[in-house]
Symmetry: C2
């Protein structure tokens, strides 16, 4: 192959990848400025989206920029990742538009790299159970997700159905609105009833606090209630709320609040190796990642 042919090939592959990268993935890969002519982007952005970007994307973009120089040759790096890192990752696909093929792909990646679990919506649990059969990767599913504002009865039934279908880990969203209304007994009872169903089937329970919606006092209260109610983990975020995902400060506060008695899962918006390592440093014992590949690239 000549140099000119190689140049054409490189440009074609670049185009191909670029066409397939979703807007979110583009954000997560943000790097050198002044390009983007081929993007066909509008010249106007409404103030709401400008503010949302500043609140939820700026930190990640900075982290990615810092990591930029190392982010090539992904496939080689993926073969070298530290198994102890893989073993704390919940490889996650929760977007409603995910298809059967998308879920199968995530399961195959999880088997390949030995992740802790595959985390999916309840409808996909039977499929994931089959795909992960014979591996050590756990089946994880979500309950009351992502709003946490359904009835306890619904959460209990959702949990019962999920564990019957093969879920070994349950990530439930606590009742954030009740917590913010001061209805602590309702929050505790909600967790407790779900914990009972999960535990009776041998599954563990992680409780999602959606920390971006809570002040520090509410975060600490939520940790106490989760501990009292018998949860196994506290988890920062759903990854679905525009207010944001995991922060190092929230993880540190939660680790302090549960005093080593519960696991800590950091999730939501963790898109780089640096962010992942910072969460582990702050006390996280599990990571929820949907952009797992980008994080692993940075660890290679």
């Amino acid at each position: 192959m000549t140099k000119a042919e190689l140049d054409i090939l490189v440009a074609q592959i670049g185009e191909e990848i670029f066409a397939r990268v979703s807007p979110i993935a583009v954000t997560a890969s943000g790097a050198a400025s002044k390009k983007g002519e081929g993007l066909n982007l509008p010249s106007e952005v409404c103030p709401g989206c400008v503010q949302r970007c500043a609140q939820t994307c700026a930190r990640n973009t900075k982290e990615i920029l810092a990591a930029g120089a190392d982010r090539v040759s992904a496939s080689e790096r993926l073969t070298k990742i530290d198994p102890s890192i893989a073993a704390v990752i919940d490889h996650t696909i929760l977007k409603p538009e995910a298809t059967r093929a998308d879920v199968v792909k995530v399961c195959r990646e999880a088997r390949q790299y030995g992740f802790a679990s595959v985390c999916v919506n309840p409808y996909w649990v039977p499929l994931v159970r089959t795909e992960l059969s014979g591996s050590s990767v756990k089946v994880c599913s979500v309950v009351g997700f992502p709003l946490g504002a359904t009835s306890t009865e619904a959460k209990v039934a959702e949990t019962a159905a999920a564990v019957r279908a093969g879920a070994q880990e349950i990530d439930m969203v606590i009742n954030v609105g009740a917590l913010r209304s001061g209805d602590h007994e309702a929050v505790k009872s909600d967790i407790q009833q779900v914990a009972r169903v999960a535990h009776s089937a041998g599954a563990i329970l992680k409780t999602i606090l959606e920390t971006a919606l809570l002040d520090d006092s509410q975060k600490a209260t939520a940790c106490t209630l989760a501990k009292m109610a018998g949860a196994d983990f506290v988890k920062t975020s759903t990854g679905f709320h525009p207010a944001g995902g995991a922060s190092v400060a929230a993880v540190a506060l939660m680790a302090d609040a549960v005093g080593g008695r519960l696991g800590i899962k950091a999730s939501g918006g963790i898109r780089t190796a640096e962010a992942a390592l910072a969460m582990l440093d702050a006390g996280a014992t599990r990571l929820g990642l949907s952009g797992t590949r980008a994080v692993l690239d940075g660890l290679g």
Copy 2:
């Protein structure tokens, strides 16, 4: 090709992608940017947020700007609204951070203006039932919301609990991932089982298609499945997916697909009187609004 050549190729591809993916400097322009001076906006917005704005906000921004001159003096206008408009509005509060006080306020507004219903997450149904007692405003709740990807068993239990607690209308999200995977029987059965529980309690069922995630053929298929499964309404959107909410085109397609046999609820991102009226013109028979006040202002 030698190993060294391959390494060079991989590096070149990396560079190519790196060069094309970048944060785009943008500024909110026109009237919006003039009004936004006090907002402390950043000078850079990532491509993902630029694209999201183009997809979901541009139309609304235009409508808001066009309607700008009329959007003052809300309290005076609220006393003059057409009761026939009020009677098709589901006054909605579904954000997870909503507190008891927020929900009570929405109920009082609904009684005052005679809206069709108050739409809340299941946890708040008992409170809403009490607050609306003695009025003609219905209690509406959501099921499988907003992802639609939980198990049918969970949706059925959530519906049963909601109608027992007092819900008279159920807005369930269909299984979008199953539809996109071609699993039509699963989508139909999911709706059918929820419809049975709702109807046996005298409640009606609206099925949320999340139209922004479907192509036109999938939208039409979803309408057919909803009709076959016994739903009473098809509804455009949850209002929670970043891909966007109701569009006039989707409402028109849905109205055509159900041929007057089901109601049509437009919801998600309807923030102006002009947008609301356009949805009704296109065939909507119900409107889901969380920014109800702004819409009513424009109708005064």
